[in-house]
């Protein structure tokens, strides 16, 4: 499941930022990929749409890379599934 989730997150981030999937790894940081704050809010929007979740602003501010996204999204999906 985490590997599948990582792949889905990378696919969404790659599509949103118009970058090739191969540019991403599970531990990639956004800074290293040149992803800025405007890309960031578009990624959050795409994740919320894809997983039907709501990412709180406080949580969003802590995100620095793919691993943070996967962890945060995983928790929100778990919470939704109760």
């Amino acid at each position: 499941m985490p590997e599948d989730l990582t792949a889905r997150v990378i696919a969404i981030v790659a599509k949103t930022t118009h970058k090739p999937i191969e540019a991403f790894a599970a531990d990639s940081s956004f800074e290293s990929l040149g992803i800025d704050s405007l890309d960031g809010i578009q990624i959050l929007f795409a994740l919320e749409q894809e997983f039907d979740i709501s990412i709180p602003d406080d949580e969003a501010k802590k995100i620095r890379g793919i691993a943070d996204v996967v962890e945060g999204v995983g928790k929100l999906i778990d919470a939704k599934q109760g």
């Binding site: 118009h18 405007l38 578009q42 929007f45 919320e48 749409q49």
Partner: protein, 397 residues
């Protein structure tokens, strides 16, 4: 004569995106041939809309993936026009102004977003909604993409927006406040909300646009963009630049009269102010690219204002809106390019779709076919809803 106001200003770049051609060469060929871009609207299907025709840009595409995700159609059109205008030019980074005009802003994306909000009850908006719909997106795009870091802003005065933008850029260079400028306007018109709003005004023609004609049925909406690059004439000449013409005068006025009905007095005062600014007598003007919307209200008022200022034997007049439609915030820029090309080629573009001249629209109308004429000075008129008038005086090189 007015005092020496400063430097002469040359147009060293032009770019056009229009229903009758993308690129100045294609645009000019259509103007010269009197070829209209008015056709059934294809971008959007609105059952029951009282008009079916518009002047659209078929298959418009510009920008990379990121630009297309960040900018709405009007801003991409502006970028496309700027790219053509700036080709081969190197402008001083912090001394180049970018001044654009728009009437509608990013209404395509705004319309689609509000549909999701109201009709589909969505609670999340795309996070780039604000930067996509803001009217200044073209100025920002051009400034960022070409690294132009001088004064940059956007003028909103409805259908006069881009004439005001060009006029301000002209004055800034003339006065030494900037050493170059990219100026013009852009509007994308064919969204559900905007088309319904124009329908409600009952001024859009059910078939085509016939400016100055008896029984003229109204205006035809168009979309597009045009950008001009302005530089001091002496510097452009010194490096052997291709010069499309000069801007020699700019005049503005307000009708202070009515939110939609033009007064005529304001139009006359704006044209007079432009001639004074150019230190030019009315007799020197050989051509006017009229505002010429083809509506019942505009055309008589404009023609009569021209007659009062220039007399019964005034300059040749045409409305190229009969071909590229009324492009609102882009109109002044598209028509300034048309007038510059007319001066450059010694050929006055016609008023297309012309039938019989209306008795209340006096003047020497260039009808249906282009006219060969060696003209030194031309006016380009823009008169907006709300009574805001802006007129440019252009000179052949």
């Amino acid at each position: 004569m007015s005092p020496d106001l400063g430097r002469r200003v040359a147009v060293t770049g032009i770019g056009v995106v229009s229903a009758i051609g993308t690129g100045a060469a294609a645009f000019w060929e259509s103007l010269r041939e009197g070829r209209s871009g008015i056709a059934p609207i294809r971008q959007i299907d609105i059952p029951g809309l009282k008009f079916q025709n518009g002047a659209e840009i078929p298959d418009f595409a510009w920008g990379d993936d990121r630009e297309r995700s960040l900018y709405d159609r009007f801003a991409l059109m502006a970028g496309c026009a700027a790219e053509e205008a700036l080709e081969g030019l190197s402008l001083p980074r912090e001394r180049t102004a970018v001044i654009t005009g728009s009437c509608l802003g990013g209404n395509h994306f705004e319309d689609a977003s509000y549909r999701e909000l109201y009709a589909e009850r969505r609670t999340r908006f795309n996070p780039v909604t604000i930067p996509k719909i803001m009217e200044n997106a073209p100025a920002s795009l051009i400034s960022m993409k070409w690294g132009l870091a001088g004064p940059a802003y956007t003028v909103a005065s409805a259908c006069s927006s881009s004439n005001h933008a060009i006029g301000q850029a002209f004055w800034m260079i003339r006065a030494g406040l900037a050493d170059a400028a990219v100026c013009g306007g852009a509007d994308a018109t064919f969204s559900l909300g905007i088309l319904r709003a124009w329908e409600a005004m009952r001024v859009v023609s059910p078939d085509t646009c016939r400016p100055f004609c008896a029984g003229r049925p109204g205006m035809i909406l168009g979309e597009g963009a045009a950008m001009l690059v302005l530089e001091p004439l002496e510097e452009a000449r010194a490096r052997g630049a291709d010069i499309f013409g000069e801007i020699v005068g700019f005049g503005m006025s307000s009708d202070a009269h009515h939110i939609t009905q033009p007064s005529g007095d304001g139009a006359e005062r704006a044209m007079r102010a432009a001639l004074v600014d150019a230190s030019l007598a009315p007799e020197a003007v050989g051509y006017i690219n009229a505002h010429g919307t083809g509506t019942q209200a505009n055309d008589p008022v404009e023609c009569q204002a021209i007659e009062r200022l220039f007399g019964a034997r005034g300059p040749a007049i045409s409305s190229t809106k009969s071909m590229h439609g009324h492009t609102l915030g882009a109109a002044g820029a598209i028509e300034a390019v048309a007038a510059l090309l007319a001066l450059r080629h010694g050929t006055l573009p016609p008023t297309a779709n012309f039938t019989t001249q209306s008795p209340d629209c006096p003047g020497d109308i260039v009808a249906n076919e282009a006219r060969a004429a060696s003209v030194e000075y031309a006016l380009s008129n823009s008169f907006a809803f709300g009574g805001l008038n802006a007129v440019l005086v252009l000179r052949a090189t």
